[in-house]
Symmetry: C2
Subunit: 333 residues, 2 copies
């Protein structure tokens, strides 16, 4: 059995391959009767155009890369699913690229990846979104890209984000409204811009409520469970310990819960805990965690759509979409 190519279709439809190509690419300038005839034969033969041949002829692969260096599996799969949605709808393919290495060579590796795989563009996720070297290199090489939740926006590329500082303020206010005044904060990884904004929101809320916080109540973590555990131990061993702790993500909040558990501190009666991200663990622990849910998948989808639009029309101006996050109140507060 011979492979079905554009030629097969053209022969059977008694038109030239160019006409079939026009139909495939919805180019217009094809009489409706002709188009219907071609379409019918394509369906009949189950013809699928060869991506390789198209890529070669067009000099564009219709593949975009998703770059991440993020320890949260749940976050990653959400991002992947959103990006895949957008890709499917636009007939693009997605290639995933975790970069587990922190190395100096990351910039080089990325450029190399794009060149070797002939990617049409990239989606960047935090914390890579905040890597100036990489951003600059991509800009220099004129490789289209879009960012998910970058620390700051830029007119040089499209991006999507949540207003983390607003939400951070909101959840802090919620704690204040519940009667807490001694609210500890566990900061996330320093590279992660959005995490910094969560902290900013926390500070703003306290300021607005005229609450003074000692330096001791603010502890550095790195988003991991263990770092949350350690940070919380420090907070909870203070002579005048906080009655509420806001951790910049759920893993650290889970660590906080465990620290409380070890120290025999009851949650939420003696200590309220809030996390961030609505990671699965926030539902799976007891008491379940109050947290913040971002529409991660939707954000990734939007970023991908923006990227694809930019690839299709490089002159298109860059956009920045802001999404709303949602407070989820559970048992830990």
């Amino acid at each position: 059995m011979q492979r079905v190519t554009i030629q097969t279709v053209a022969d059977k439809a008694k038109v030239s391959i160019k006409t079939v190509s026009r139909v495939l690419n919805k180019e217009g300038s094809v009489r409706e009767t002709t188009r219907d005839k071609v379409l019918a034969i394509i369906a009949e033969l189950g013809y699928e155009p060869s991506p390789a041949a198209r890529a070669l002829a067009r000099n564009s692969s219709k593949i975009i890369g998703l770059i991440y260096d993020n320890p949260s599996a749940a976050y990653i799969t959400d991002v992947q699913n959103g990006a895949l949605n957008a890709c499917d709808k636009n007939e693009y393919s997605l290639v995933i690229h975790p970069c587990l290495q922190e190395g100096e060579s990351l910039t080089e590796d990325l450029i190399n990846l794009v060149q070797r795989s002939r990617l049409d563009g990239l989606i960047l996720t935090p914390p890579i979104t905040d890597n100036k070297l990489i951003i600059q290199a991509l800009l220099d090489k004129k490789i289209p890209f879009a960012c998910i939740a970058p620390e700051q926006t830029s007119s040089n590329y499209s991006s999507v984000s949540c207003n983390d500082s607003v939400i951070g303020k909101e959840i802090t206010n919620y704690l204040i409204d519940s009667g807490h005044e001694k609210i500890g904060f566990i900061i996330g990884h320093a590279d992660h811009g959005a995490a910094t904004q969560r902290f900013t929101g926390y500070q703003e809320a306290l300021l607005a409520a005229n609450i003074n916080i000692s330096e001791d109540f603010i502890v550095q973590g790195d988003f991991s469970f263990e770092s949350g555990l350690k940070a919380a131990e420090r907070l909870l061993n203070l002579s005048d310990r906080p009655t509420a702790i806001f951790a910049a993500n759920d893993y650290m909040a889970a660590g906080t819960l465990r620290a409380a558990f070890s120290l025999g501190i009851k949650v939420p009666s003696e200590l309220a805990i809030v996390g961030f991200d609505d990671a699965p663990v926030s539902r799976q622990i007891s008491p379940s965690l109050s947290t913040v849910k971002q529409p991660v998948s939707k954000m990734a989808e939007t970023a991908t759509n923006l990227l694809i639009a930019k690839i299709k029309d490089p002159k298109k101006s860059n956009e920045h979409h802001v999404f709303n996050a949602e407070l989820i109140i559970r048992e830990s507060t």
Copy 2:
């Protein structure tokens, strides 16, 4: 600036493009001095062969698809990372394909995906590995594939797995050795072959220890936290309730822990809990869960290597690799 192609390299090296091609593909029959010269120029120009042109000329995309329909993000990313490792080493690309739909059309969709994207082969993960329709369709269409943890092995395709029944027996024995006789079991999703084997191991251990278990001690779940919660509530409300519960995965074990928590049952003093999979949650809850860790990433890497070997040489016989899982004893027992 003109794009660097094989012609550019050939011209500069004063050889034919065919010779450059030979060097690129390590074909042999190239004098060492010639090869070194070509290699030097490739490096100098930073030449990268066009995947599209190669795919077109070879009629093979060097892309494999990873198919999954699995709710566990941690598992998925482990599998992805393992598969990516193998792909990178062999200069293959990986395209991920979650199939969230349960639909009848899944078989058709998969075949379609392979044809449209011209995938060279597929990696299947549970529970799709046990879908006879899909397996048969792939076999019929002569699409190469390999399975990760299928319910049963077959000489028609390569696969990798852990001996879940052996491990299930082992962990049950561990509970028995700790003095438990009343051991409940929460079964996983019925489609999932490996889960069934975990149950088999449990039964074998009890049989060997001459322990009789009432039907009541065995409850059906579906791998989700909620199903574990419900199942555990049933078990723990029995008049003669179990002193230990073996859940077929960690999410259900986490649900069990929560049920115990709600009912005021102390873990591990009044109830021992073991899970399966070493999901992140097993470390992040208090008390942390005793569980079983499978080398998921390594398994995926091996499966991918087997697939690639098969793609390169279709006459190669199929292999089945068995991996060892590891008991991880934590606080819940």
